[in-house]
Symmetry: C2
Subunit: 507 residues, 2 copies
């Protein structure tokens, strides 16, 4: 006993705060001569368990040989600082992490063994607690993508992801929701749908994600119009007052593991079907939705490339929905080109404002899609008769009712604001008189990303043409918006090497 308590004493280091930003990866830096690391056999790149009272986190250890630190000190990343709730100068405790049993199940799956419900819970609980290194998470995501998820795995992964986070319950029903399986730049119907259906008395507590591999997620776009970083209590207040909201899902900790998986999937640039389904469904179910409309755009360069893929995805989404007692309706839509004009958070926000305000130059396609999907929600929730949803949605927009509701929601979320404008723009011109034959969603999305979206909210692409349009030589096809010269140059260079991302044909 004595020996143990003495050892615990000597396993302590003094925490030093240096504002070390490593995103969400916990990192600890010690001096190479740290006596504790020596006695425990910790060397660089080791995984170590840090304790502060009852709180624990597993971090990657780096070591330095400089007077930045004394041997008895440890600098922690801000992520570790938050998870451990430390104060400057606190003593932290270092030890060897327990071997992770759940990793054995991940390895087992690599060799063909499906993951059962209990094992899935163990894996997700370990990820939620920060026990997986990025390498482990990448291994999990790759094997899930590699062999596809069984139906049982789809349900158990969704369930485990829900259990790892908060879950909303509402005093009434139906609670409606809508989700679009991305891949279509500028397809920002969500804020419009929320405004339309909430104006018709439905409750729609919408939590949205930030971009995974695209230049903007709905949360990124909405953030240029109003605060989206609301906690659970704030979200509830907004919905109880206005019937709807559009907030960032990560902040309310519905399915927080999803965000951890997304960060790694983004580095992998991997969009796997199973991850997509469980990501969507875990968030919807955790948000308390009872009725869900799903928008699956299909197009050669959209996320879903064929009708067959869309049908398969729709079947799996329905399967998970019904496993959790949710009613769902899938709409397969046209995904051959971007929707609206803007690609990037602020540029997309401007399109939304134009539609809500019934401006004469508002993008028709964005308006049409929003009306169609909002109509489907109104029908699914029995607010409109079958085939009458679309007309009701249309009228809600035209009357200004949707705009009024949107303004009220933004105010309730913390205040409506003006989307920012980029400091620099550059037009990409047509090289000849021609007709626009096709637009590559993916490469156009990449131009917007190279220009800085979504990190720089004002950055992105303003698209001036649609498939079928005639253009003259030197007419602007699209405008690149960027905040910095470096980013503008990256985007321009890629654009000039990929002139055919807007394919022009003989007139």
């Amino acid at each position: 006993m004595n020996e143990t308590s003495q050892q615990r004493q000597s396993n302590n280091l003094r925490a030093v705060r240096i504002g070390l930003d490593t995103h969400d990866q916990p990192v600890i830096i010690t001096h190479r001569n740290c006596p504790l690391c020596r006695s425990e056999g910790f060397s660089a790149h080791a995984r170590v368990r840090i304790g502060n009272g009852a709180k624990r986190v597993i971090a990657t250890l780096y070591q330095i040989e400089s007077d930045w630190l004394e041997p008895g000190q440890a600098a922690l990343s801000e992520s570790a600082w938050r998870l451990l709730n430390i104060h400057e100068g606190d003593e932290i405790h270092l030890s060897h992490p327990q071997p992770l049993d759940s990793l054995g199940r991940v390895r087992g799956r690599i060799y063909g063994q499906p993951i059962d419900r209990q094992a899935m819970n163990g894996i997700i609980a370990d990820i939620a607690a920060g026990r997986y290194a990025d390498i482990h998470t990448a291994m999990f995501l790759t094997t899930m993508a590699s062999r596809g998820l069984t139906d049982e795995e789809l349900v158990s992964l969704t369930e485990a992801m829900i259990s790892a986070g908060e879950r909303l319950e509402w005093p009434r029903s139906p609670i409606v929701d809508k989700h679009c399986v991305g891949g279509l730049p500028g397809n920002r119907t969500t804020p419009l749908i929320v405004a339309i259906v909430a104006a018709n008395g439905l409750w729609m507590p919408k939590t949205s994600s930030r971009a995974i591999t695209s230049p903007a997620g709905t949360a990124d776009t909405m953030e240029t119009l109003a605060p989206v970083h609301l906690d659970l209590a704030e979200l509830r207040n907004v919905v109880e007052r206005e019937g709807g909201c559009v907030v960032w899902g990560g902040a309310v900790r519905l399915s927080p593991v999803d965000d951890m998986l997304i960060r790694v999937a983004r580095v992998m640039d991997l969009d796997a079907e199973g991850q997509l389904i469980t990501s969507v469904m875990s968030k919807k179910i955790a948000a308390g939705a009872t009725h869900l409309v799903l928008d699956l755009p299909v197009g050669e360069t959209a996320k879903v490339r064929s009708r067959a893929d869309a049908d398969h995805l729709a079947e799996k989404l329905d399967l998970v929905a019904s496993a959790f007692g949710m009613r769902s309706r899938v709409l397969i839509t046209d995904g051959r080109q971007p929707v609206g004009r803007g690609i990037g958070p602020a540029l997309e926000a401007r399109d939304i404002l134009a539609v809500l305000n019934n401006e004469s130059d508002a993008p028709d396609d964005l308006r049409e899609r929003s009306v169609e999907l909002a109509g489907a929600v109104l029908e699914l929730a029995n607010v409109a008769e079958p085939d009458q949803g679309r007309a009701l949605a249309e009228q809600t927009l035209t009357s200004g009712g949707a705009w009024k509701k949107f303004e009220a929601i933004c105010q309730a979320q913390g205040g409506l604001r003006e989307p920012p404008r980029a400091h620099r723009t550059l037009e990409i011109l047509a090289e000849q008189d021609a007709e626009v034959v096709a637009i590559d969603n993916r490469r156009l999305g990449r131009v917007a990303k190279l220009a800085g979206a979504p990190g720089a909210p004002a950055a992105g692409v303003g698209l001036h043409v649609r498939v079928g349009d005639r253009v003259s030589r030197d007419q602007a096809l699209y405008t690149i918006h960027a905040d910095t010269l470096g980013e503008l140059n990256y985007a321009r260079e890629f654009a000039l090497h990929n002139q055919d991302l807007i394919r022009l044909g003989q007139v």
Copy 2:
């Protein structure tokens, strides 16, 4: 032009050396207010390209908010420092990394598309140049493990790994080699075989690996007897003088990518067949071997668990060998229990010394295996007639010829030395009079690892019993050796929770 050169100027930061040890992961730390990062849109956890003259490396960026750094400075990890060949105060250049085309092929394989020869070369070249984040390498290893490698992938991965490193050529033939597919603690035949066959005039330039998931690799064990960190020229000198060597493969940069893959595979705790085959064969071929004997121990807790698995592995090893014009012979051996007494670098080294010196208590099984395998090498290389190899090997040991040769090799590598002894030991005792029914290689290996092996070379396990032995209550089954109390406690705790790792039956 002007703008570009001006921009290049402002993309520079002053390098600061803080001895940051991150193992081989390149890391760069800047101040949060670094104007360059702001203008380029670099945020924490981004991948950035660092340039110093013509040298380039891709690193993970972290940011701090402290007076440790000025905004115009950047601290680099020692790994980046080495790869870039920087001097303190040098100006380094930061830019966005190019998108990695080869990652698309890795993703493609996740969805079932085999990787062709050209794509494999691209992947391995990117890994060799440090362009893959750990997450990307984990994705590559997982998909290769997940679907197994096709024969074409086995050959192309081996070829790509050879191309990424140095390749030895020798002025004579045959050049012999031997490899054991691990999983058997203490199975340290290699130094004995090198000594025996070199004493018989053969050339055996042996490069060995460090431990992957085991408590000791041959290089770890040999390092307690002589320096193993030799470069290519030094290796060549030793072999030309003495006919044999046992050095660390990583230091001579034969198949350096293998070591990068192994580091990530170790965190994953993954031992995949394809990685195993390409790892072994790329090193042997790069080392210039023409004749190769492979030892595949089979046992329930060995790496290869069944005769069928061994046959499959043998077939694939032969396939790759013949694709590169190498003659090979596979021996399937008994893998039901550890070999020798020591498990851990120094403890295994003592077993080797005992066999070489014909000591009366030298472990019989280690001696027997070494003689059998060395005999197979002597026969394969036509130094012994068929069925005469074993007798020749036996005689080389008994006569002291092998010991003399081993001493000479150690001297040529930099000097024979005494293996270290651990500061603390603890015996694990039998709880009853019993017979030893089975020994779990894996869990016994874990005891040795928890005790500090291979990082602490003196740490590990000294095994006192073999399957079939009778033991009395309170007789020592094995002794744990550790340098620190912390490690001794981890190993003891695991041992006490896993009493059945040595299974005792009724007498």
